[in-house]
Amino acid sequence: MTSAMFIQHFFNALTLGSLYGLIAIGYTMVYGILRLINFAHGDIFMMGAYFIFFGTVSFFLPWGVAAVLAIAAASLCGVIIDRIAYQPLRNAPRISALISAIGVSFLIENLALVIFTGLPRPVVQPEWLVKPLAFGNVRILPLGLVVPAISFILVAALLWVVYRTKPGLAMRAISKDIETTRLLGVKVNKIIAFTFALGSALAAASGIMWALRYPQIHPFMGVLPGFKAFIAAVFGGIGSIQGAMVGGLILGFIEIMLVAFFPEFSGYRDAYAFILLIAILLVKPTGLLGEKLEEKI
């Protein structure tokens, strides 16, 4: 492999990895607070992609405006899902909420199939994002720079919210001790809704950039990236935002590089992630940056 090719693979991996990372953050934040795997999260990613498609193709909105609206709409969907499907089950056994999550996921995918039809839709890519930039003999798509840059800005903004603002403080408190946090005056359901809004916004941002990178969208496009992002969250240490991002990046690199170096195994590219999941669960179930979680009683 030439170094030029390696650099191109590097930026592909960085792009894919940051997209996984953005989705993984939503899994990890919700899990950190509710100990719930929000299976519908991958579908929020899909909705982000559809919203940008309709925004730009049906309503002819400029990309930036459409992206902001799509993120806001997907964020609202996340909050509604929590309100309808999870909030009534807050005091139920955890398995009930998990089953509800799986149900919501199927519901959204099939609703999307009915409403948007199963036909893959082509997303129009802005030309400047896909016109390769040449650096000597290295050719890189501007997307390969823009996607990681936007992702890192979003993660930095999120970390600022979580570590420097009042709702962020409440989120971190709830993740350890809901009862005490309530005693101190925190309206827990509001903070949980806020968490869903933030996580869904990042998933939608990821879905939008995914649609730019792989410009064919369909109702089940969120399933596999969703699973992989979940693996990234486990790998990074579920509950840790930084861990989710690191996990996403590592997963992106493994997937791209294995295919690049061993093209004969490229048919197995989706299997690598799951092999990795089994390996982590066997060797270090708390993940790279995760703390040991005590069972909640």
């Binding site: 009042k166 971190r172 350890k176 009862e179 005490t180 309530r182 005693l183 101190l184 005056g185 925190v186």
Partner: protein, 238 residues
């Protein structure tokens, strides 16, 4: 300030509080003492809105006038002017000392005065100031208790409820905490103190109730009960 009438608390089949009536006058220190399992914590948790399905009446006469606390969720208590420092301190171990204090002021929106109140808590407990950026979980038991009391003060309560602040602390630290309780009472806060350490509690309390298996069996001023032979025999080691 707080009037509890015929309070019953049940958990499943356990009848933990069986008709407790007590009153906490404004500006006083009232203590509820009793052995493990006497129902002290259940009573205080009922006032804080942490137990569902209670019977009886809980009336609070505070900044919103006379209101019933029954059925209110715990997050509304600090807004009414009631703060609880829970049993076992319940410090958030992964948050720093100053973050724990800020969380105590969560219901407030007056940012500058919150900073003043953090300084006030640090003046009460200088050791917390030294540990301001340390995580709550790394503090000693005594420091965690100080933080729990300080955190409860951060909501500027009119009534502060302390659930077993002496639990697991060395005698010297117990004395230190109780001196602070006297001080905050002198500064105008009403205190409800739940304790197993009857001697320490009776010494500072204006009025005391003794609870046994869910019922009040004796009440009187702190001084009175300190010299009561029955109390001496059962709670003060003869």
């Amino acid at each position: 300030m707080l009037e509890i009438t015929d309070l019953h608390v049940r958990y499943g089949g356990i009848h933990a509080v069986k008709g407790v009536t007590l009153s906490i006058p404004k500006g006083s220190i009232v203590t509820l003492i009793g052995a493990n399992g006497a129902g002290k914590s259940s009573a205080i948790r009922a006032v804080a809105g942490l137990v569902k399905g209670i019977e009886g009446e809980i009336i609070f006469n505070g900044r919103d006038g006379r209101t019933s606390l029954k059925g209110l969720p715990p997050e509304s208590m600090v807004r009414k002017g009631i703060a609880l420092s829970p049993e076992g301190r319940r410090i958030l171990p992964h948050l720093t000392v100053i973050e724990n204090l800020r969380l105590g002021a969560y219901s407030r929106n007056d940012a500058e005065r919150i900073e003043d109140d953090i300084e006030y808590v640090y003046s009460l407990f200088p050791r917390l100031k030294e540990r301001s950026w340390q995580k709550g979980g790394t503090l000693s038991g005594g420091e965690q208790q100080m933080l729990a009391v300080g955190r409860a003060l951060m909501s500027r309560p009119d009534l502060i409820m302390l659930d077993e602040p002496s639990l697991g602390l060395a005698p010297l630290l117990v004395r230190e905490i109780f001196e602070i309780i006297l001080q905050i009472n002198a500064e105008g806060k009403t205190v409800l103190l739940v304790e197993q350490n009857a001697f320490a509690a009776l010494k500072i309390a204006h009025y005391a109730y003794i609870l046994e298996v869910g019922r009040i069996v004796l009440q009187g001023s702190g001084q009175e009960l300190l010299t009561n032979p029955k109390v001496k025999a059962a709670y003060l080691g003869g």
